[in-house]
Symmetry: D2
Subunit: 224 residues, 4 copies
Amino acid sequence: MKNQNLIVLNFKTYKESTGDAALKLAKTCDDVAMENNVNIIVCPQIGDIYRISREVDIPVFAQGFENIKYGSNTGHVLPESVKEAGAAGCLLNHSENRLKFADIDASIQKLKELCMTSIVCTNNIATTKAAAALSPDYVAVEPPELIGSGISVSKAQPEVITGSVDAVKKVNENVRVLCGAGISTGSDLKSALELGTEGVLLASGIVCAKDPKAALLDLICGLG
Amino acid sequence: MKNQNLIVLNFKTYKESTGDAALKLAKTCDDVAMENNVNIIVCPQIGDIYRISREVDIPVFAQGFENIKYGSNTGHVLPESVKEAGAAGCLLNHSENRLKFADIDASIQKLKELCMTSIVCTNNIATTKAAAALSPDYVAVEPPELIGSGISVSKAQPEVITGSVDAVKKVNENVRVLCGAGISTGSDLKSALELGTEGVLLASGIVCAKDPKAALLDLICGLG
Amino acid sequence: MKNQNLIVLNFKTYKESTGDAALKLAKTCDDVAMENNVNIIVCPQIGDIYRISREVDIPVFAQGFENIKYGSNTGHVLPESVKEAGAAGCLLNHSENRLKFADIDASIQKLKELCMTSIVCTNNIATTKAAAALSPDYVAVEPPELIGSGISVSKAQPEVITGSVDAVKKVNENVRVLCGAGISTGSDLKSALELGTEGVLLASGIVCAKDPKAALLDLICGLG
Amino acid sequence: MKNQNLIVLNFKTYKESTGDAALKLAKTCDDVAMENNVNIIVCPQIGDIYRISREVDIPVFAQGFENIKYGSNTGHVLPESVKEAGAAGCLLNHSENRLKFADIDASIQKLKELCMTSIVCTNNIATTKAAAALSPDYVAVEPPELIGSGISVSKAQPEVITGSVDAVKKVNENVRVLCGAGISTGSDLKSALELGTEGVLLASGIVCAKDPKAALLDLICGLG
């Protein structure tokens, strides 16, 4: 049976995950997911979603969109456009793309309307609890100081993760918790799951690895 | 000989210009351009650039990007990504997406570096003159109150257009001037050209027309 | 005994509440509060806080500040500066000044640290519940479509108010609820209190009234 | 006769230039200016403008405002409020507070209307030239990488200063040029004036000096 835990790979805007390189990386993720029967979700840049979603079987999520409607919004990213390009879900409020509070709420509702999955990023226990009150599908707790640090939050600040899981369950038990920030190895993932999360959100540890496939294979060992 | 004047069609985020509809509209523009030997440039949403640029021969421009570099910029639009998706140029500083002054300068330089064409939108004679000092390929003068109004700036405020053309030529005679705001008919285009511009930037007049092809055919009559 | 319910008057940036006029209005509020033994809080513009706080006995709150620290932040509003100018509390996340989610959390913590009172504005039941999880002193529910409308939320959408009060109490019973949007008369205030709130946040109904003192006197009748 | 060159001191949001400390620093500037017959302008935080402008004779400028009109703009900084608080001019587009291009133009016009002086900060020769086309009273050229560095632009990049002076004079000879970034000593000021500027914009070199009065006295030696 397929392990239900998620590995969400944020492509950010690295050179290693832009354009042709993004497509290659997404295919690697697709291969690893299919061969090992695990859930990997890729989050490429908006300009790459269309081509990637045509070439892989794993879900493709957007890194974000704007709280706008059809109309006169030159240069802005419409949720419906992201959906039509092939995205099945979206990250919201990543630490590199913080959203206004009212826009997070509206965006979660919009994603529900479009039958897309929402992952709201948060930075501590209080904001995780608050985000859960907005009923997204997932929250991903990422202490900003550990993002890209190589120091896994699941090891360095386990109390943030367990505290977040507890707080979320009190507010809305249907919301699932992911663990982000500093995750790169199977061991990081394993401890994240042991703390009560249902997966991880990660980026540079895989995207910028010398051998992304090897890094992914190491990571998924953590699924147990 | 091909008329050198430009028709730049901003797709904005209308329902009529998102996803499949965007592709259809771009193909219509392509047909009209090819059959009539005129220059039409389409500016679809970022998520649609890849698929459109694979299917049309006319240039595809982006509606904007952000002044960022490869790296950790979740949810932001990287210039290199826009280029890899297939864009040959970009609108900058549209009234619906105003940029910081220093970012306009940096973005024009970035586009030069990527061998892409820059069109900087401005709102009056003073800002048009100032923008020309930054040496973009084009400036597009659009009094904001006329955008989407159906009232052509070339008829309602011809002095803004002639004043802009004069001011630009004093600062940098290589910068070409486009005329925006309220343009929709061949007659609007004709007067824009008579005022010294080298083309028009328009949107709803074509995109939201009942019959975009007919609207385009009427428009290009203005090229003379 | 003094009625504990609050009347919070947001001065916004009206001509009637800028500079000398702001001082005059604040003194009127001070007079009404003292003569009638009621709680009125004034929220003038940042440039007027110092002079007003020297001349009135009622609390002066800021309309907002930025999540920044001492240092190089030209043109930005430092929380410590607002405090030194004489503010005893602050509005956060007003619909005309929406904040990023993480900044709301950090700003509430900053206000606690500075021994200042926090009032977080929200727009519906879900965001009110989420804001309560961040433990501010007050939340002020204001459906944006009713702000400045003259249609009182306590009459037009009473279920938003009772739903907010219920949701807040479940998350953190120490957080008190204010009612905003369209409030101007004593009757509006009375119904707001009957719905379980502990006061109101209002602006144009008093600030732009022909006779603000008379309007305030009518309003406080609603305190019962 | 009084030397016409300007020393503009940006208080930023340092602890040494907030509230009571800001007032003390402004009085030191006032003393030095009066005793030595030189032009010093202080730019405190918005919350400190009122009290400082009542206590000093030298001009007080704001660090910025927003391009808004009287009305519903909770938490925003109205130009008229800054004027009423006592400001005689304003910095615009500081590198820590970059403005949108169209807002710089509108803000310069607004300052003219309010009979206030405008100083537009720019980051290189091209943007300085462009800013001059908008006809502010002053432009202040500040290569961002040197701000707060202690390395004077007038010594490290003299060609940026002379290039800016030349470019400005071609576009609008009434616009005067100030030199910013890394300025702290009399020697820095002297070289700035020799390169054709009419003064300097500086901050930490004086504000954070152990003895700001001594630092100012050293600085004004550079006026010759």
